[in-house]
Amino acid sequence: MKNCTIYSDNLIEADWFQNLSPEFKDTKTELIKQRNKNIPIINELVDYDRPDIILLDQNQKPLLVLEKTAEVPTGHNVGQRIARLVKAIEKGVPTMLFFPFDARKHGTHTGICNLNARLLLAFKRMWEIHNTPIFAINWKSDSNGELINDGSEDEELKKILRNIIKDNFSLNSKIYKKYKDLNYEEYQKRINIRPAYAKPPNSAEILKTKNFLDSLNFEIDEVDKIKLLKNKESLIYKIIMTEENCKRQDPYTGTQFMYDYLYCRTGKLNYEKNRNLFLYFPKIRKNTWKIKNPNNPETKSCNWYLIANTLIFKDGILNLI
């Protein structure tokens, strides 16, 4: 695959990926640059966030996107990285996330953390909506929850890549279907153990749209209200940030994609939903937010404005899609 190019966020990840297949031995590597400083297809794929690996063929057609992390897979950790992946599936590029399904968190409160299984169902929904493979691969850990790192942890990924390469990167490669089924089996296994993962988390609640809008302490313009009431139900993703610490995106702007696909989205376009997605900031005023998180396409803060039907503050709403 001499004429292909591995684009990576970092030389360490590029080096790791290149060693996953002998086919990549002579493949060129390039670093992903800042937003809008890359070739057009890379700029498009990093529009929401930067994945670790993008593989392009000789015609600059993307063949796959891969994200890798050793982070423990609970809470917001799993959602944080989703913005790095969604653009790829929107563009029909097969996408994989390599991370531990079960791993030990170190420090004072050490313990084995298990996968937030919602991620697996979110991937299934994304795959079905965009008709593009997206799946999770387990970075195995030992019985103590320590990640395997003797080289064998990459074997499964190597096998997947062998199959994808053998099938010429066809979307019809049987390996994709196999992992779709495996991921769903894993999801079912995990919600049997922990049924809470079959429902929204505490920070995200499904409510009647009218009831929620009526409960707010400010008036909403009638035209806006009519628009928001088109969906009878809404997923309220409550984000408890203060005005002092609200200039940030992670982990929320990644996690919003997970909740959108799990509970709201019905089609490829961001407004194709059967429930609204509301990002709710009960401790923040709208004007403070606009200063700290402007909808600026040059920075990641524009990710706040991608998919939510609206952003709701303690004194008003912003950005209706």
Binding site: D9, N10, L11, I12, D52, T69, A70, N144, E146, L147
Partner: protein, 165 residues
């Protein structure tokens, strides 16, 4: 030279010299190695005041804390010096490695079977590109722009890493 390239070259250098890669936290991105924190006080929460070595490599004779930087940096020398002078930190480092079972995992437990042995085998290394002068307690891997490596032992014999060719 980029910091991540120095990290990759340093890993390759030690692997070629038959060292095992015990832990690592690259300057950016992620590696497949465990991340080890060396804390000042075990009771403190999170990573406050903790030091995470870029790399920790091991063979039967040495366990080496390695810092990878694009250029020679006095701050790294100070950081390593602070670790070296602080018995508590070295003990915390040893305990962290034990609690993660890393010596057992890589079959080095028999060669580092108590704290004193561990401490006596502890060494330090800086890897970077560009000009340098020899250091008292820290070994150096100096990479040229062509990625060739030059290994320079620490001046103090108690801190030297003797690497066989």
């Amino acid at each position: 030279m980029r910091e991540d390239l120095i990290y990759i070259l340093t890993k390759k250098f030690f692997v070629k010299k038959k060292f095992g890669l015990l832990a690592g936290q690259p300057p950016s991105g992620s590696d497949n190695l465990p991340v080890i924190e060396i804390k000042t006080n075990k009771k403190e929460k999170g990573s406050k005041d903790s030091y995470i070595p870029d790399l920790v490599v091991i063979n039967y004779d040495y366990i080496v804390i390695v810092e990878c930087k694009p250029r020679f940096n006095q701050g790294d020398i100070d950081k390593i010096d602070e670790i070296d002078k602080n018995e508590l930190r070295i003990k915390n480092f040893y305990n962290e490695i034990l609690s993660r079972n890393l010596l057992i995992k890589y079959n080095f437990l028999n060669y580092f079977n108590d704290y004193e042995t561990f401490k006596n085998k502890l060494r330090y290394c800086l890897s970077f590109n560009g000009n340098f002068s020899e250091l008292e307690k820290i070994n150096i891997i100096n990479f040229s722009d062509d990625k060739d490596s030059l290994f320079v032992e620490a001046k103090n014999s108690n801190y030297k890493i003797i690497i066989s060719e």
